[in-house]
Structures are given as C-alpha cells and as structure tokens.
C-alpha cells in the first residue's frame, strides 16, 4: 500500500511523524520503504540518523531519478546504515526499512510526461516489493502533490491501493489551512478530480492526522493555573468545533499525536528505549504513534465517513 503524507504548511510534523509511522510498521514486521519527496528540504536523512544518506543523495537521489539523470534512485538500508544507537540493533521479526532520500540540490520541478512515467515505474516497482510505501510530500499544493495525484490516476496504477494522510497542527490557522488543502478550490480533491480521479473514491482515502496536540489533561500542564487550564480546555473545544465545521471533524481523523517535547527539540524517531529506559519521551507519544501505524491499514478506520 502507498501512503502519501501531505501537509498544508511546513512545521506540521509531517516528516517526523510519517517517518515514525514507517518505523513502527517495520518493527511490526512489514517491509517498509520511505520516499523523501520533500524536494525543497529533504529531512529524512536526519530523522533516520543516516548521515551517509546525505552523501549518497548528493546526486543520486529521487530527484535525479525523476528527472532522468540516474537509472535508479539510491536506497539506504536504515537498520544497517543508521548511526542511531538503538536502531542499529535490528529487532528480530522486524521487516526491512529502506529510505530513498531526495537530492540535496533538488528543488521543485514541473511534471513532464517523462518524469511522470518514471514516477509510475518506481511506485509500481516498490509496490511489488514492499508492504508499505510512505511518500513524504513537500508542503502545500506542491509539484510533488500534483505528480502523485497524476501518477495514481494512470491506468497502470489502478490495482495499487493508496491512502492520503494530511498532517496539521492543532491551531485555528492550521485547521483551516488543512481543510483548504484538501477541499479547497485548488485542493487535493479538486486537483485529483481534474486528473481523472473519481471524487467519492478519492475523498474516501483521505484522513487527517492532528500533530503536536497539547492535551489539557496531560501531566505536562499539571502545573498551570486554574484559569490557564480552563482557557486551554475552551480552546480545545473551540478547535474541535472549528474542525468539524470545516469538514475535517472526528470521523475523518485517523489519529492525534500528542505534543511531545522530544519532537519539539529534535526531529527524530522515538524508540521504545526513549520511552522505557531513558524516559526522555512520553509513553503516550509512543502509543499514539503505534496506534496510528496500525490504523493505516485497518479498514475499519477507512470506511465511508
């Protein structure tokens, strides 16, 4: 299955959350491939802690592949190439975890007939090899978004299952922007329909993920005053209302990831060691990510809303 990770703006935790989802699925035994289609600012190398990826992707990354400079994009085996102390010990029973980095120098580019074909070839090929393919797309209605909308509308891709995750932060601005990214006049749905997707079908494979959501009940805020606490609850309630009035209410939400101090400080994978041994990360974050990873392929969460 293909999972496209999109977001209205930068800084929504899209890359770091989708990378964590990929990691969780690999832990659970799936063969997972993570594609960095964030052509403006590739970050996956940092998240997976594979400095070699930066070197390797100098001119052999996804961008070079799509424009036809190289025959195959470079692949990085995260378990064996990471410098992360915990990730290096691949747990028994885990699946493959492969990163295809973007190019350091690669910017945005227009979708031509040729790079579209290469994109389709790559997705078809990965689909026959991996259980899950996570495609991290640059923010907004980027070329990357257009390209995968176009690619998934091709006849060859008809048999390939795909889903969209739209990440947004839990603020008024982000909620409105995420809704417009999907349902707006120039949104993903409209763009998809213009490329031949059937509207109902496309809508039914899009879900939202709320990232960095402060939970007023969390221990993190146990020290705030009663007034502050009441204000936070009220905001939270208002936001829920706002989200549902924008058409991205509860039934379209695949899950939320709580505000996690570790992720605020550094884009990284949260390992069980971070939660259990060093305890720098919150257990809730680990559980939310694990739950979200499970729901990616759980059809119960993808029935018609």
């Amino acid at each position: 299955m293909l999972v496209f990770a999109a977001s209205d703006k930068g800084g929504t935790g899209r890359s770091v959350t989708s990378a964590n989802l990929a990691y969780h699925r690999a832990l659970a035994g799936d063969d997972v491939c993570y594609l960095d289609f964030d052509f403006g600012s590739p970050t996956a190398a940092a998240v997976f802690d594979v400095p070699d990826a930066r070197q390797a992707a100098e001119d052999r990354g996804l961008h070079s592949y799509l424009v036809g400079d190289v025959g195959e994009p470079v692949r990085i085996d995260v378990w064996s190439d990471t410098e992360h102390r915990v990730l290096r010990n691949r747990p028994p029973g885990s699946g493959r975890l492969v990163l295809m980095p973007g190019d350091l120098s690669g910017g945005e580019f227009a979708t031509t007939e040729d790079n579209l074909r290469r994109c389709v070839d790559l997705l078809l090929r990965l689909n026959s090899e991996f259980d899950l393919i996570v495609v991290d797309l640059s923010a907004g209605r980027s070329y990357a978004v257009d390209m995968v909308l176009e690619a998934t509308s091709q006849r060859e891709m008809r048999g390939v299952e795909f889903r969209w995750l739209v990440f947004h932060r839990w603020t008024r601005q982000h909620v409105a922007a995420a809704a417009s990214l999907v349902f707006g006049k120039r949104g993903i749905v409209a763009g998809g329909v213009a490329r031949g997707h059937e509207e109902e079908a496309l809508r039914s494979v899009i879900r939202f993920v709320r990232a960095a959501v402060p939970d007023p009940e969390s221990a993190l805020w146990s020290q705030v005053s009663a007034t502050q606490s009441a204000w936070m609850r009220e905001c939270d309630r208002d936001l829920k209302q706002l989200a549902s009035s924008h058409g991205i209410g509860y039934s379209l939400v695949l899950g939320s990831v709580p505000l996690e101090p570790v992720l605020q400080w550094r884009e990284q994978l949260i390992t069980d060691e971070d939660v259990l041994d060093s305890q720098i990360a919150n257990r809730e974050t680990w559980e939310a990510l694990s739950e979200l990873a499970g729901r990616l392929t759980d059809d119960k969460y993808w029935e018609q809303a």
């Binding site: 028994p92 090929r125 026959s128 090899e129």
Partner: protein
Amino acid sequence: MGTPGWSARPVLACGEVRTCLLPSFQALDGRAAAQLLRLRADEPVRVSERPNLYALSPDVLTGVDCRLPTSNGAKVRAVGTVAARAALTEGRVLQATACFSAPATGPDTRRPWGHYLVRPGLVEPFGKLPEQAAAEGVLRGGERGELDLGMIAESLLAQLLRHPLLDHKPPFKSRRTHLRWAARRAPRGEGPSLERFTLAEDGLRTVELRLPEETPAAAAAGLCEDLALHDWLLTTVVHMLDNSRLGAVDGPSAVLALRPAVDHLLHLWMPRAHVDRTLGHLWDVLEREPGFTRQWQTLVQRIRDQLAVQAIPLLHEALSSTR
C-alpha cells in the same frame, strides 16, 4: 570485411538479468504470456509448454556509444548495439536480460550506424579491448556515463510492467535480484566452464564463465537466466521463511505466511529446463557447491513438515467431533 587484423569474432560476452515475480494476481497462461512479451511486431514470441510453460520474447536492440566499465580505469569507448529480451516462466516469474558481445579489437573511428545494425548485440571497442578489465568492470557495475546493462534491462522490465494485462496485485511481496555475468573465451580446445558464482549484497549476484568460441551469446544468456531464476526462487523462499517466524510464533499464522510459496513457487524448480544442451552441465558445479537443489529440497521439506504439523490438531478435532 573491414580492417586487416580486426575480426568481429567476440572474445567477451556480458549481461545482466533482472528477475522478479510477475505483479499479477493470477499467473498468465501461454497465450497471455505471448501477448505480454510481444516486443516486436516482426518477430514472434517463442512459447514452449514442455517441460514447463516458458515464453521468450524476441530481442530488442539499444544503440550505445559510450565508455565501457573497466576495473582498472582504462577508458575504452565502444559503439554498437545491446540486445535485450524478456522471459516468463510458468506465467509467474519475469526476467529481463540485457547483453552484448565484444571483439578483441575494433576500428579506431566510428562507422555509419548501418554497420552496427547488421551486427545485433555486438559492441565494438575503439582499438583494443582490455578483456579482463572490461569483464570485471561489467561485474562491478558501470559508473555514470559508462555502459549500464542494468539500466537497459530495467527499462525493458518497466515497459513490460506497464502492460494492461497486469493488475499489480501480486499474491505476495518479493524482492528483485540482479545477476551480472561475464563470459570470456575459453582456451582453444577447452569446453565451457563456470568459474565463479557469488552472492553480493542487495540482491546482486555475479557469474564468471569461460565459453568456447562457437557458443553464441544468446546461449550464455539463457544459462544465466536459468541460474538467476533458481537463485531468485531460493532467495525468495528463504526470505519468506525468515519472515514467517516459524518456531517463534505459534498456531497457523506462520504457516499461512508460507502459503504463497506453496501456491506459486514450489512447482517452479526445474534447473536446465531451457538451457542450451552444450551448457547444461555447468549446473553441476553449483549443485556440488553450494548445492542449489539440495538447499531447495530442504526448504520445501521444511514447509511441508510445517503444514503437516499444523494439520494434526485439525485432524484430531475432526475425528473427535465425528464420534
């Protein structure tokens, strides 16, 4: 014909085979296989049904004018055509091969294209061919700007995978393998030999051969496709067994994970089925060491034993309920 002292008789043949599961829910029958592999209107697909269903496409040519990969850094420009073809075994395993042969020496200037077109699959070096360095270069893989057989095989494979016959719902996920081969001319009077077979990382395998002058490159390609097919079967079933966590998890789930092997792979083992008669015995080398068929039989036995063990409680249940 041509320059004195220069002969077009090849001293080196090289190729790369890419092997993958056909991404289709059902295996293709002979007719559909022929439809898939119809790469040219002017030449038919060869389909044979005995001893197993096997379809082979006609060759398609790619014109090349670039440096040959060499292990010693020698810069050798070469011009000619690379032949590519595809094969489908039992409607299930798809392979694409790109290969060429090269003579010991070539002219110092580029000829008109007509010259190369009448020598399909022949790539001529400018001047003398550094045989060993070029063979090693191909096995190691080309750098950017050098002849890249893998890329030619890959683009043929990609073209086939876009065919409307395929639904891209493979019954299980599997990795591709790449097998690169190089065949140098055997010393006069000696028969063909398989010098080395190696497993490298990332699904790469290499084969070194020595072949007598009269062995055509297509026969070598056929042998290497057969080796690649069986190596892919071993690789794929081993991976499946690893992933199934047999012995670590209880109950039918581990065995269910092996079901695709039973449904789609176990009947495909048939070394030498479509190998040129003069080369079939090269398999013996691999049967002795590392013992391809020996490993396969062990894997198959292990899967069947597991199925049998899982069936016992069911049988028990069925018997006690009828009482």
